[in-house]
């Protein structure tokens, strides 16, 4: 049978059979982490938590790019937006994230030129049309978006556009998994690994992590039966004590990944030690712009002051990102932190765990 459309991965009959198999197999209480924010949203939108047996807890991980962006980076974005003759271009989710005293959304309301774009090439186009302005793209994301941002820098060079800059706050997933396992108090029995990121980096990128920790890992797609298939494979590995690095998303993810995209990414970026919100500095987990491309590096073009940025008091985003807490355990959740007036980024991003809980979860 050839599956042509995603609807077949939403077939209630296939899901029902998968749930049944999971129920038959699952004996131990296990904690599985879905690393990726898109998985978190799919799990909530499809009501998967209420379908799987109580032995399985699904934890949301640090895979929402906006959520793991460090507070001083958010403050740096706001600082750049205030520089005269600057246009900030960004994906939408960043607009609302509160910095220490403002947000991009509020800066825009105060008259700063901040534009939402759907692609880095829109940002280049804006730079081309506004040669007298400095156009900055805020690069926030994982290996999924980093290659297109890298490609935009290559294009800008080719097109001789000299007023386009990228602030690279990109992060890489495999290094974060290692950091998670080292975090005190964390207990994760298996990982549902991200689909989109893996399309780029391939399953081989997780081998060093898997070899070191021997924690069950399954790469998953985003449709409900993809996710349940991954849960089933993880439960099997755990119950049979046969940890492995498996791929449940073979229609999109290969062992090698997209070598061309990885090549472009590596041409422009190099690994750097960077801070993740709630986790701290993770060695080699960031992508900074190589010296060769420093003309396009917003961090070098703009003088950004040293910041003593503090994460908001009482906000449990850090613990939520690492699976140590669920949003309902955060003292601010739904009380003073709501999507209308968010305190932490997990409540802002459409892929944030707190936003997902707020929107789709009911204590009833």
């Amino acid at each position: 049978m050839t599956i042509k459309h995603a609807d077949e991965y939403r077939d209630p009959e296939i899901s029902r059979k998968l749930v049944e198999q999971i129920k038959n197999l699952s004996k131990k209480n296990v904690r599985l982490m879905e690393v990726c924010g898109t998985h978190t949203m799919s799990i909530f939108r499809n009501g998967i938590r209420k379908l799987i047996p109580g032995t399985i807890s699904l934890l949301s991980g640090p895979g929402c790019p906006v959520c793991v962006t460090a507070q001083n980076e958010i403050d740096a974005f706001i600082e750049i937006s205030r520089v005269p003759d600057t246009i900030i271009t960004t994906f939408g989710d960043l607009m609302r994230v509160p910095g220490n005293e403002s947000s991009l959304q509020k800066e825009r309301a105060a008259g700063k030129d901040i534009r939402m774009v759907y692609s880095t090439f829109d940002a280049i186009e804006i730079a081309r049309k506004n040669p007298q302005k400095k156009v900055v793209f805020l690069g926030v994301g994982f290996e999924t978006t980093a290659p297109t941002v890298a490609a935009s820098i290559l294009s800008a060079r080719e097109m001789k556009i000299e007023n386009y800059f990228v602030y690279s706050a990109h992060k890489t997933v495999p290094q974060a998994l290692c950091a998670l396992m080292k975090t005190e108090g964390i207990k994760i029995d298996g990982f549902i690994l991200p689909g989109h990121v893996s399309v780029i980096i391939g399953t081989r990128a997780y081998l060093p992590f898997f070899n070191q920790y021997q924690t069950p890992c399954v790469v998953a797609g985003f449709e409900p039966s993809d996710i349940m298939q991954a849960v089933l494979m993880l439960v099997k590995q755990i119950e049979n004590k046969t940890p492995g690095l498996e791929n449940a998303y073979t229609r999109a993810v290969s062992f090698e990944g997209n070598e061309k995209a990885v090549g472009i990414m590596n041409d422009v970026f190099e690994a750097a030690d960077v801070a993740w919100r709630g986790i701290g500095i993770i060695p080699g987990s960031g992508l900074k712009i190589r010296n060769e491309f420093s003309d396009y590096d917003a961090m070098k073009k703009f003088e950004i002051s040293e910041k003593d940025s503090k994460e908001p008091r009482g906000c449990a985003c850090g613990e939520i990102l690492t699976g140590l807490k669920t949003p309902v355990e955060c003292p601010l959740y739904k009380k003073i932190c709501t999507p209308v007036d968010p305190v932490g980024p997990c409540m802002v991003s459409s892929e944030g765990t707190c936003a997902a809980y707020y929107k789709y979860h009911s204590e009833d």
């Binding site: 029902r16 998967i48 759907y118 999507p339 209308v340």
Partner: protein, 336 residues
């Protein structure tokens, strides 16, 4: 962190707009007709009941597949009156035009407003035009207000849903919002979808002819079906349960929503209604809606239940359950 300026979110039609109404508008204008916060006010004048409503249109772009700002402005107010149970009669039109706007475009808009008024059976009886310097407004903004007569035996409102009511949706959702979005700068979709902009007053007449047990009528515009249902659940203090499988969404709309991460439940419609009807009359009303030219894809998408008062739950396509809340941020500014 509070804000001292108006943000785009304040115009979303979701939670933050609601708080603006409650915190700033209501205290200043406080009266029992306004405080119901329905689509329009219900007024008792000389023993007759009238519906009175107003709306302002800022859609960008001004012309889009399936309609334009003028048509939208006529049908929007016609529909608001119809959702109060009224038969729309008279409209006013106020224009704010930016210096430099093409007269041929204005003519096109006004002509289509005339045709729309005729189609809906209403008369534009008064109006006003202002021109502002270039840059002080974007192309053209239109306000329409209107009144309609509510038949004696009609009594609908967002607070009148009762357990057992069936929920009828008059057709596919998210067409308008997604159409307008695909016309924006930076969007390079080529698609055949078009806005569902349409007058719903004839459909409402058919509904009232079919049943005397209609409790709620609502056109899910900004904020979409999700936000409308949440408001109805909250105001009626009743639980609502809907079924994802039964909510019609065009394949193309579904694909674009997925690509951009939008939930069609929260995307604006401009020619759809939700009707809450006693279960014994549900099939009759459904047939009546389907007879209307804008209700051919109508279906029953759920019901009012006695559990979880004030909350909407959705049974997902694979049989899971999730909550449906009001829209909380602006998904797409200037959609209507």
């Amino acid at each position: 962190m509070k804000t001292d300026r108006i943000l785009l979110d304040h115009g979303s039609g979701g939670k933050i707009s609601h708080s603006l109404t409650l915190d700033i508008m209501l205290p200043a204008f406080d009266n029992p007709m306004l405080s119901k916060l329905n689509d329009g006010a219900i007024l008792n004048i000389g023993g007759k009941k009238f519906a009175f409503s107003t709306d302002t249109y800022t859609v960008d772009p001004v012309f889009f597949p399936g309609g334009n700002i003028g048509e939208l402005a006529i049908y929007g107010t016609v529909n608001d009156i119809a959702m109060c149970g009224g038969s729309p009669l008279y409209l006013s039109v106020g224009l704010v035009i930016e210096e430099g706007f093409l007269i041929s475009d204005l003519e096109r808009i006004i002509k289509s407003m005339g045709a729309a008024a005729e189609k809906a059976g209403v008369k534009v009886v008064t109006g006003d035009t202002k021109v502002v310097p270039k840059g002080a407004a974007d192309k053209i903004f239109i306000n329409t207000s209107g009144i309609g007569l509510i038949p004696d035996n009609v009594d609908v409102g967002c607070d009148k849903a009762v357990p057992g009511d069936k929920i009828i949706l008059s057709g596919t959702i998210a067409d308008h919002g997604i159409t307008v979005l695909t016309q924006r700068e930076g969007m390079t979709f080529t698609s055949s979808i078009k806005s569902d902009t349409a007058p719903l007053n004839r459909m409402v007449e058919k509904i009232f002819t079919a049943s005397k047990k209609v409790h709620v009528l609502r056109d899910p515009t900004r904020g979409g079906v999700g936000t409308s249902l949440s408001e109805i659940a909250e105001k009626s203090n009743s639980g609502i349960r809907i079924y994802e499988k039964k909510i019609p969404v065009k394949n193309e709309v579904k694909s674009i929503c997925e690509l951009l991460g939008f939930d069609p439940l929260y995307i604006a419609n401009e020619g759809k209604l939700l009707a809450f009807v006693s279960p014994e009359d549900a099939d009759k009303v459904l047939s009546a809606v389907r007879e209307d030219e804008f209700g051919k894809d109508a279906c029953i998408i759920g019901e009012v239940v006695s559990g979880h008062p004030g909350k909407v739950f959705l049974e997902t396509g694979i049989g899971g359950i999730r909550m449906v809340d009001m829209l909380t941020g602006e998904q797409l500014p200037r959609i209507c």
